[in-house]
């Protein structure tokens, strides 16, 4: 479960949003989270207190390309404006290299095509349609 805490004062210029993830133990984590999130945690936790070896105890969960990209596919189908697409595109630019690195046992060649596509300049809605076409082929 993710609880969002918005910390702010009206007179503060900077604000912080804390995505707050809480689990009772490793089993609870494995039960609650999507496989792709669990795998991401395995590689990207920075331990500040407790067992520094904890990430090594998180199992790497094998998953299909479809399972891996399910969230991105669903997101792509909800985009209705250029602003929404910009946020989506920024996320893809950030996440695709990580996915290619973490899931080298999968054929993610379409993600490489999406990477190239995102670097080209043309209308956002046409670009979105091409990205969606490539995503559904997984």
């Amino acid at each position: 479960m993710i609880i969002l805490f918005l910390i702010y004062k009206h007179n503060l210029k900077k604000k912080i949003l804390i995505h707050d993830l809480n689990y009772r133990n490793l089993s609870d984590l494995l039960m609650k989270e999507w496989k792709s999130v669990v795998n991401n945690m395995k590689y990207r936790l920075k331990i500040l207190h407790g067992d520094k070896n904890f990430p090594n105890k998180i199992p790497f969960l094998k998953l299909s390309g479809k399972e891996l990209l399910q969230g991105i596919v669903e997101w792509s189908q909800k985009i209705k404006s250029n602003e929404e697409f910009k946020i989506f595109q920024k996320y893809l630019v950030k996440i695709i290299p990580k996915l290619l690195q973490d899931y080298d046992y999968l054929d993610l060649s379409n993600l490489k095509k999406i990477q190239k596509l995102l670097n080209k300049k043309f209308a956002w809605n046409k670009k979105l349609e091409k990205v969606k076409d490539l995503l559904v082929k997984f």
């Binding site: 910390i7 912080i16 995505h19 991401n40 407790g50 904890f54």
Partner: protein
């Protein structure tokens, strides 16, 4: 700013009085800034019971407020 946010988080962990009741605290991924805004995001990862967890988050909130969070 991202470094400052991480330091505030880290200091909050170190100074939390019930730290021994929390099994694990981590950050997850990178601190990010929402484009064209003054909002920053951080993913906090905690293994503990809910009560202690809620206390920590409340404490963390006060630590950010104390720092005035204004560069």
């Amino acid at each position: 700013m991202k470094k400052k946010i991480f330091e505030i988080f880290k200091k909050a962990v170190e100074s939390f009085e019930n730290l021994n009741k929390i099994e694990l605290i981590a950050t997850f991924g990178e601190i990010s800034r929402i484009e064209n805004s003054n909002f920053y995001e951080i993913d906090s990862f905690i293994i503990s019971n809910k009560k202690v967890h809620d206390n920590f988050i409340s404490y963390l909130q006060t630590q950010f407020e104390k720092e005035n969070f204004n560069p």
